[in-house]
Subunit: 267 residues, 7 copies
Amino acid sequence: MDVIKDYDWPGLLTNAGILLLKLLAIILIYLIVRSLGSKIIKHLFQKFEQQNNLSLGRAQTLQGLTLNVFAYILIFIFIVMVLDLFHYDPTALIAGAGVVGLAVGFGAQGLVSDIVTGFFILLEKQIDVGDYITAANFDGIVEQVGLRTTQIRSFDGTLNYVPNRGIINVSNHSRGTMQALVDISVPLEKNLDETIHILQSACDHAAAGLPQIKEGPNVIGVQELGASEVVIRIIAKTENMEQWRVERVLRKEMKDALDRYHASSAQ
Amino acid sequence: MDVIKDYDWPGLLTNAGILLLKLLAIILIYLIVRSLGSKIIKHLFQKFEQQNNLSLGRAQTLQGLTLNVFAYILIFIFIVMVLDLFHYDPTALIAGAGVVGLAVGFGAQGLVSDIVTGFFILLEKQIDVGDYITAANFDGIVEQVGLRTTQIRSFDGTLNYVPNRGIINVSNHSRGTMQALVDISVPLEKNLDETIHILQSACDHAAAGLPQIKEGPNVIGVQELGASEVVIRIIAKTENMEQWRVERVLRKEMKDALDRYHASSAQ
Amino acid sequence: MDVIKDYDWPGLLTNAGILLLKLLAIILIYLIVRSLGSKIIKHLFQKFEQQNNLSLGRAQTLQGLTLNVFAYILIFIFIVMVLDLFHYDPTALIAGAGVVGLAVGFGAQGLVSDIVTGFFILLEKQIDVGDYITAANFDGIVEQVGLRTTQIRSFDGTLNYVPNRGIINVSNHSRGTMQALVDISVPLEKNLDETIHILQSACDHAAAGLPQIKEGPNVIGVQELGASEVVIRIIAKTENMEQWRVERVLRKEMKDALDRYHASSAQ
Amino acid sequence: MDVIKDYDWPGLLTNAGILLLKLLAIILIYLIVRSLGSKIIKHLFQKFEQQNNLSLGRAQTLQGLTLNVFAYILIFIFIVMVLDLFHYDPTALIAGAGVVGLAVGFGAQGLVSDIVTGFFILLEKQIDVGDYITAANFDGIVEQVGLRTTQIRSFDGTLNYVPNRGIINVSNHSRGTMQALVDISVPLEKNLDETIHILQSACDHAAAGLPQIKEGPNVIGVQELGASEVVIRIIAKTENMEQWRVERVLRKEMKDALDRYHASSAQ
Amino acid sequence: MDVIKDYDWPGLLTNAGILLLKLLAIILIYLIVRSLGSKIIKHLFQKFEQQNNLSLGRAQTLQGLTLNVFAYILIFIFIVMVLDLFHYDPTALIAGAGVVGLAVGFGAQGLVSDIVTGFFILLEKQIDVGDYITAANFDGIVEQVGLRTTQIRSFDGTLNYVPNRGIINVSNHSRGTMQALVDISVPLEKNLDETIHILQSACDHAAAGLPQIKEGPNVIGVQELGASEVVIRIIAKTENMEQWRVERVLRKEMKDALDRYHASSAQ
Amino acid sequence: MDVIKDYDWPGLLTNAGILLLKLLAIILIYLIVRSLGSKIIKHLFQKFEQQNNLSLGRAQTLQGLTLNVFAYILIFIFIVMVLDLFHYDPTALIAGAGVVGLAVGFGAQGLVSDIVTGFFILLEKQIDVGDYITAANFDGIVEQVGLRTTQIRSFDGTLNYVPNRGIINVSNHSRGTMQALVDISVPLEKNLDETIHILQSACDHAAAGLPQIKEGPNVIGVQELGASEVVIRIIAKTENMEQWRVERVLRKEMKDALDRYHASSAQ
Amino acid sequence: MDVIKDYDWPGLLTNAGILLLKLLAIILIYLIVRSLGSKIIKHLFQKFEQQNNLSLGRAQTLQGLTLNVFAYILIFIFIVMVLDLFHYDPTALIAGAGVVGLAVGFGAQGLVSDIVTGFFILLEKQIDVGDYITAANFDGIVEQVGLRTTQIRSFDGTLNYVPNRGIINVSNHSRGTMQALVDISVPLEKNLDETIHILQSACDHAAAGLPQIKEGPNVIGVQELGASEVVIRIIAKTENMEQWRVERVLRKEMKDALDRYHASSAQ
């Protein structure tokens, strides 16, 4: 009933001092182990990489992941030790039922979802560090694949942290040759056969100067018949990540060719 | 209370060494069995395929699936063995209740959903490797159908990994003849009967040169009566995957025919 | 502790051989029963159909469904037999509780939802094979109504597999006469009474040549009064699936009538 | 272990024959009771309707519902009887726990939701057969209100089956007088007072010829002041379902009046 | 095993007759009590309203609610009595566990949600009958606030039934003075100071004739600086529900003032 | 079995009379305590506010909240008393399990969510009465922060009731200086250096007359390079809630300055 | 039965007085401890920051978090003490089962989700105070990272409170060099080679005056080939947060260069 008197204030303070010392010791050990462990893992991976012929992306993925798992296990041990310090049984905490348990169970399902998804992303090798992917509405280069989070670097320099549960569908743009696609609008009154011939010549000319092109480029035909213009589509197969450059060169070549043709036909 | 002293540090280290050796042995065996198993399965399927008259798509689907199931069972056995190494009873883990169990149960339901859906996609033969499908907002050619994930290759070269639970509705564009559809805008002041006659002639001419067309093409009539133009629709039945080429050829033929007609009527 | 030695490798292999033989036998029986059963069901339905006056759509729906249910029951028996082969009690599996059970229960609720919904779609005769429906954002002709999946063929030839739980609302366009609706834009400066009179005459003329029209077509009035044009609406009742053709013919007739009228009034 | 021998094949077949006969008998009885019951219910409702002064919509709603409930109870009894035939205790099925129970419980909650919602739609008389409603994104005339499904006939002739749980908000357009609303655009340079006077005269003239109008129509003022035009709004109260016709007539009258005014002012 | 013989058909029929009579008696009593009760409640409220100075809206809200609660309690007693008639213990039904219980519990949570939300809407006096509100995407006048459903009458005459759980956010437009807001576009070449002066004079003139305006109207400045026009904003505080009328009058006054000004400056 | 006779009708009526009297007494006491309590709380807060230097917004927030909590506790006591009157144990009700309990538990979770969120909004002082915030898609001035509902007054006068669970993200526009941002379009043919110089001069002039500006305004450069115009951006820091006025003045000043410049350069 | 008499009113009042005193004492102690604690924490962090070389953002993040955790623990102790005052066992409250427990468990899961997510945001160092991030649709500078809420200051001055569970994906724009991107539209009739040459010269000139540019700017080619214009893209790498300034300067330089070129070519 008399709440304030009931507490043994001096005893509490003494205990608090001892606890504080222990806590500091644990924190110190935690920090040392973490920095040492990280260095050892990185060193081992460097050696391993030199002796084996892993692709760089795959090696970085594995190293990042190992560091990641190491950090999570360490922090887990750290939390259990601190709880133990306060005479609180961690097993009871984890297996605790009732309202708090229910809330924790529901609240933590996101974490489990992250780990399950992360595990399968790694097992199925869906992404490697350095891949250009689209996932969870982000578009960019993978910087790190962790058990809980994946880091994607956008082309504008932004670093996006995506929890793995958000990565439902992965579109990996670094798994094979890519297609360059250019649509050219031509006024409706132009002769189609001539225009297509000119565009195809320009394509062949461009292909000669672009070793990144693996197939084509080819004028595949009339894609759209608008009210005042005809849209002609050109496609090519290119090396990975070279599709935009090829598209830009093709656009310039097409424009130059049409300019020359219009100039000559206007005379 | 004195947490740090309580641990038997040297004993832990010795045990850790032995455990490490066992762990390495298990990893080695796992790697050997996995690479051997994959080769045997591929070899058996090649023989099987030669002796039977399965469609190529179906055979690839089955081979991919078998490899997939094999890999998942192996990794499952591997995890159970490692857990066993650490004296942790896997049965207890799986049937464990409480907060962690709840979280795991909820977090893993996505995995079960994937497998149940994957099972029915395969049982009902909704997709085969090589089919052109639309599913989960991806559009492309199926590369692999797994128990958990399906791989769809977009036409621009991107490889999309889709967990099966995301494949609710499947639109399979490789199950029968396709329809080519072309809409032509004609200025409002043109005579409709003449225009339709000209377009139908061009259709018949195009059909003669396109063996991919199975039926039509036919001018089916006025689709839209706009403020300044009339939209006339033409449809045809084509061989699978040939609909775009047919549409492109039809668009070009229509434009040429209208150009000739306008030229003659302008004289 | 010594995990690898504990396994009785030779015994396992011998057992594996016997199991493999049994497994093959079960698979063989399964395949035979399945192909035989399907043929018998199809044969019985053909006879049944000839002797009774069922609509074709309804008969196909029932046959497809019977084959479907037959296949699911067979595969269920097959799985139970295989599990039994591996000394695994299927009852325990089905009634199993714990984490796996929870995950399975949640993961499988989609399946139960499919079957419950499918059952009511069939009981309430919402769709028959051959109906033109809109469901789950797909638009097309029903090819098969199964207990778990419904197949809808789009007009462009795509075959859509829709799990029944996705079919919440069904819009069945094959249950009664349809309405053809045509909106005609007329320039604001035209006299409205004359224009409506001309359009109504054209409607009557079109109706004479189109036996598919069951009622109308009638000019029902000014639908919209825009800044530079007046929109006049015409509706008609037509036979099922003939609404588009009627609309197209009406559009052409309207345009021809207005052309003639403008030509005469311009003189 | 020897699975195949364990089954008593001949005994199974004999039992199967007897079961088949019983099954056929039950199906026969079910079909007879269903057709008889439906006829009796319809007959009773016809008599009841003649002797009482129920609105036609309400009477049809009640008859449809009674037939609906009768069919569901019959099919439920039928399923219980068939299950009983196979020595399967239906009570256990219904109260069954475990994984299957969980899945069924979750999968069937949609069904319970349908019935609960349907019950309240009927109790609160939210819709009657023949009402023009908007619900679940469908717009049309109610054809049937069932305990599980409501049928809405769109104006284009499509019949929409909507499970009651989908009918969250009901917009009933058949509960009172409706408002006709017409917006007229006038060029910015016209005198506003004169224009409003002319439109109000046209409104009064139109009201004289339209007994469906219950109040108004009145020009309520300048609704929008655009860059090049002024929008003037006219509203009227009309009989139910007559609002569109009134709007069309008003639009035509307004246009004619403005034409006459512009013609006279242009002289 | 012999299902059909097991039923005591004549006994069942006799019992059915007695049950039917009892059922009819209960239905009769139910109907009488319902109609009587409704009349008494309405009568009491009329008296109560005359003797107290409740606002009309609040009085109607309370009467509608009382009738509503009365009807639900009555139907609940009716269902319990009918179930009792069939020897079915309603307590068991309500507290019943198992699959059906689970499904019912989930299916009925919408109902509980409705009542909880309805209770707080009433307790916090968020809406009264006659208020103009926006809730659940409906916009209109409240006709009835029930424990489960709220009825909103749209301005076009439609009656919307909204279950209370759908009313998450309530925007009540009948709680205080409203703001009239008019944006006027002026050509970019006009002098701004003069234009603002003219608009403010027109505002002051309009305010003199509109007693519904409580504050303003004031020209607050340049809201937007477009490519070819300047948008000037005018705001005023008005009596509730009078904001549209004030806006319409202000728009007309602004246009007239600008017309006069342009006419004079063009001379 | 004989349901109707079983009820002791006269005894029920007598009890009902006594109950009614008690009920009326409780209602009376409830109403008196509520009105008295509210007055006392308001009085105490007025005194408290005078003696302390709380900001007005914070004081109003605390007073509104205290009244709110007081009303909820009172209504809770009232309900418990009424239930007690009917011999119904409220503890059992609250802790009741089974189907009803499940439904209530799920249905009421919204209420708990409201209170938990409301508690943290208050604890973290996210909003005070009088703040201008954006939350749950509403934009306006906070009128009251309750434990369950927050009231936001839109600028057009509407009062919005938002349950706290709907307030996930709070954008508080009353916590610091605001930024005024003006974009000016200049025709592409103008000289950029001169235009920027003129705009900056106009900015400096405007700043002299506007003490609400705390920093700037500054022309920060070319924001957009369109096809026919250049967009130049100007920003300034202003006092809270003064940003719109500053923007309006800046827009007018910019336009005047450009007008003068164009006039002089056109000479 | 006689509810009102049963309460011991005077005793209740006496107890209430004692309770009130204790309550006030607890509140006083709570307020003192909170203000003292905050000061001590801030002081310790200032010292710590001076002695170590932490980045300012990281130091502020840690200090804000420590204050945050301190406040939550204090309020938790405060609530437990108050509950204890009222003889209510807090353990029972927290572990309470039944309906209330279920509702609380579900309602509070948002809180647990916030803390779990917040913990990982901090552990993985996804954001520091002062970073420019995009999260939960808010765009701005991080002001505070708490265990439950993160505060983001928008550029217009608004302070956004975001519960951590809402921060699923974090886009951190302060982790590395950023890319400036400018698109220039050139009329279709211009010579492309010359234009690109002029733009590149202007880029080189701009780079000389902007030390914030780390790489480029470079004209990378034709991005789009429109109907009447060609879009040319220029990109550069810049220091963090300097990308907008660089883009603005580049836009101005490009325009000036094109003006000079057009002027010279027009002569």
